[in-house]
Symmetry: C2
Subunit: 120 residues, 2 copies
DNA sequence: CTTAAATATGAGCATATACTCATATACGCG
DNA sequence: CGCGTATATGAGTATATGCTCATATTTAAG
């Protein structure tokens, strides 16, 4: 496990979060911890879309999609803009991109490691 | 919102996750979406520790801490090594550091933005 | 004003999961 | 072996949350 070596090499000391901050961080992770919400975020990678488009693309029900969009908006991950009858949602927090990429990356490592077990 | 401009500037095209991968990503986020688990991860930033030390440091019950440690280990975020009577846990996935930093960063932006509302 | 379309939301149900208590398991020691 | 310590786990409960159905709200059009 060569990757563990990087743990001690860090220029800026890591901040100790207080209770409130810690719960906010946990909340943000939890919001991203639902498959349907990730599907919505992924659908919005291509740009802003209105609710019905997201319903069609994800295959969810209108009510459910609306709820998830609300959750994501309250977490400041998406932004909401009404245009006539339709409501458009858009990714408001660009750090989401890096976040998803990073998680995907470490998961790929996990999978590669598992594959190694079978390959010998 | 100048930050939204970076969305379209990306060299490598973003991958569309299939259903299985998407659920794995969601699962990873969900595992990080619990305050007590974040507290444990934070406690382990300083290096490997045994269960009782983590129980003392976090103020949780032994049973609960043990369960969370199991969850984190199954997610390949921590690694487990038994030494005699004690079991030591350690951060196994260094990407956790960047992940936490990024979330903290975007949360600070949220907070700063909220503060701006009051400052005018 | 009536109607229709797009979205949001109240209420209820189902399920997941965090927590606790008690107990099991694993290990070291005398 | 018998005992004490460290950790894990089965079982049960409480709570959160995802989902659905029905309905409310908002806005545009006729």
């Amino acid at each position: 496990m060569s990757s563990a070596r990087s743990l001690s090499r860090r220029s800026t000391p890591r901040v100790r979060l207080n209770e409130g901050a810690l719960e906010m961080v946990a909340r943000r992770f939890a919001v991203l911890g639902e498959p349907m919400r990730l599907r919505l975020i992924q659908a919005l990678f291509a740009g802003k879309k209105h609710v019905n488009a997201l319903v069609a693309e994800t295959g969810g029900t209108q009510a459910n999609i609306s709820r998830h969009l609300q959750t994501l908006t309250q977490a400041h991950i998406l932004s909401r803009q009404k245009e006539g009858l339709q409501v458009f949602y858009e990714i408001a927090d660009p750090s989401i991109f890096q976040l998803c990429d990073q998680v995907c990356g470490s998961l790929q490592q996990d999978i590669a490691r598992q594959a190694d077990v079978f390959e010998g």
